[in-house]
Amino acid sequence: MNAQSNTVPEFPERDAAPPTMSVTQPFYWSVRRELLEHRSIYVAPLSIAGVILLGFLFFLPFLPHTVRTLSSLDPSRQRDALAQPFDFAAGAVMAAAFLVSIFYSVDALYGERRDRSILFWKSMPVSDVTTVLAKASIPLFVLPMLSFLITVVTQSIMLLLSSMVLLANGLSISPLWTQLQLYQVLLMLLYHLITAHMLWFAPFYAWLLLVSAWARRAPFLWAILPPLAIGIFEKVAFHSSHFFELINNRFSGGSDAVASMMGTFPFHPGMPLSVGAFLLSPGLWIGLIFAAIFLAAAVRLRHYREPI
């Protein structure tokens, strides 16, 4: 910095070679910005995992007794007896990530207008498309993947602790390892997160982001009220409830192909994964088209929106 210089600097040669920047870099930094702003994205699932691990410590003293009486149980119930805390951990982390996804999506494009920081973000050469896609990637990719990683680590620690307790009590660890089949169950969890949370729920998150870009106040109400109004209108006017069924199907899995992975938590090793049927189900593709439309509208809205 030539602060004390009295000479006027030479005309900089800006136009000769404008600095280049890869397309992915603004996207990468936009995602990092979201993680800096919304620390709950990783804090919430991590603290749930921590609480579960803490609770698991109180469960551990009873483990030797469970293993000793395992052979007296019905074979089909032997796995449940051991896997319950593991399934619970996976479910709780996933539920935490799901809740964070909802709260995050509703606030993502609303909060930056409310605190006027949108003026700062928009004063940087980052397009609305990049910003909205970076925000959409949080519920559609970052959170499902993060919850998977946290589950893997949590369950590994639980398995390690369990093995140590069993060994200390002079018991064999093989029933535990063979019954749990952790590797297979984790693969199924990953499949569930990709098919259900990333792909099947995509229109739901995209809708929340759209409302977040549109609402001038109370985005949560605007996210819920219009679908509710449409459903009630249909009920009153046509005495039918196709719209409510549509919404219900979205959350329960709807078609059989998806349902085999949804609403059947906890997973059982050996459960069939109908990948082909899932990819062929029209519900998946219609949902993705809606998600794309909602996101495109959110991009358009962010272009027009000002601080509130």
């Binding site: 910095m1 602060a3 004390q4 006027v8 006027r116 928009k122 940087m124 050469p125």
Partner: protein, 291 residues
């Protein structure tokens, strides 16, 4: 080279007309001050220039359409706004990292050097900084960007005189050169009085005065007259008259210096004086001027 070219710029918010056919022409290397009362349309004009709001009329900034080419344009344009728009949760180090990450023309070393002159801690969050420090931080980020146009919308609002002086000093000494252009709106006219090269008054969405500072200084004269010479002075058609401590102060536009010199003390009026006169005449009173 023309940096901003606007013709018939219009913008309405519902039934309120914020900009009513504004023409704007800013050449490279100029420092334009846009002065106007609250709600005159200054911020709206700047927001249109930055591509933050849609508008009607013709507008080119650095040869681009700001509304459709905002992303490309903002590689060459920087912006500091009146309200502290830096996100409150952001840490100083994170702010530097972020701008370095997304802006191809950002020079991290320059930002660090500027921050080193302040008492801003690298680990502080924006919410922990005073308003003056937030402005310093924003200025550090913006000055480290090799931009061609800098837009300042009330950048020093709510800052004390020390910060304000420092702000414009830094801007002139460390940032401004003939290849850069600055457009600034402010209420604190006296701060920018000796900084500007061009001046524009906006009132109710219209440009009521637009001139170079040299023109301004040769065009306006302020005469302090004693009561006995008042009728003679009034006969020369002053554009504005006010009373201070029993003396009358008359403001003249394009009057003969020799003619006025015989009637009392002459001096070049401040921008604020002319502003009150021009805007006051437009509203039928001076209550519209909030200087």
């Amino acid at each position: 080279m023309t940096v901003i070219e606007a013709r018939g710029l219009r913008k309405a918010f519902g039934s309120t007309i914020a900009l009513d056919g504004v023409d704007l022409h800013v050449e490279e290397g100029r420092i334009l001050g846009i002065i106007g009362p609250n709600g005159a349309g200054k911020s709206t004009a700047l927001n249109a220039v930055l591509g933050l709001i849609p508008y009607q009329g013709e507008l080119r900034v650095l040869g681009r359409n700001p509304w459709t080419e905002r992303e490309q344009l903002l590689r060459d344009v920087c912006f500091i706004s009146d309200v502290a728009i830096l996100p409150r949760w952001l840490r100083v180090s994170q702010a530097i990292d972020y701008v370095a990450g997304v802006h191809p023309r950002f020079d991290r070393a320059k930002a660090e050097a500027f921050l080193a002159k302040t008492s801003i801690q690298r680990s502080s969050k924006v919410r922990q900084l005073s308003k003056g420090m937030v402005t310093q931080l924003h200025l550090a980020l913006v000055m480290a960007i090799d931009a061609r146009l800098l837009v300042l919308d009330e950048p020093t609002l709510g800052l004390d005189i020390l910060y304000r002086k420092q702000f414009y000093d830094s801007l002139l000494n460390d940032y401004f050169d003939r290849s850069r252009t600055i457009v600034v709106t402010t209420h604190q006219v006296e701060d920018v009085e000796h900084v500007l090269t061009d001046l524009m008054f906006i009132h109710r969405g219209r440009v009521v005065l637009s001139c170079r500072m040299e023109e301004f200084e040769s065009r306006y004269l302020e005469l302090t007259v004693l009561p006995d010479k008042l009728p003679a002075a009034r006969a020369l058609k002053p554009m504005h008259e006010r009373q201070i401590l029993g003396r009358s102060i008359l403001l003249f536009s394009n009057a003969l210096r020799e003619q006025l010199a015989a009637l009392g003390d002459l001096r070049t009026p401040s921008i604020a004086d002319v502003f009150v006169a021009v805007i006051g005449n437009n509203t039928g009173g001076t209550q519209g001027a909030s200087l």
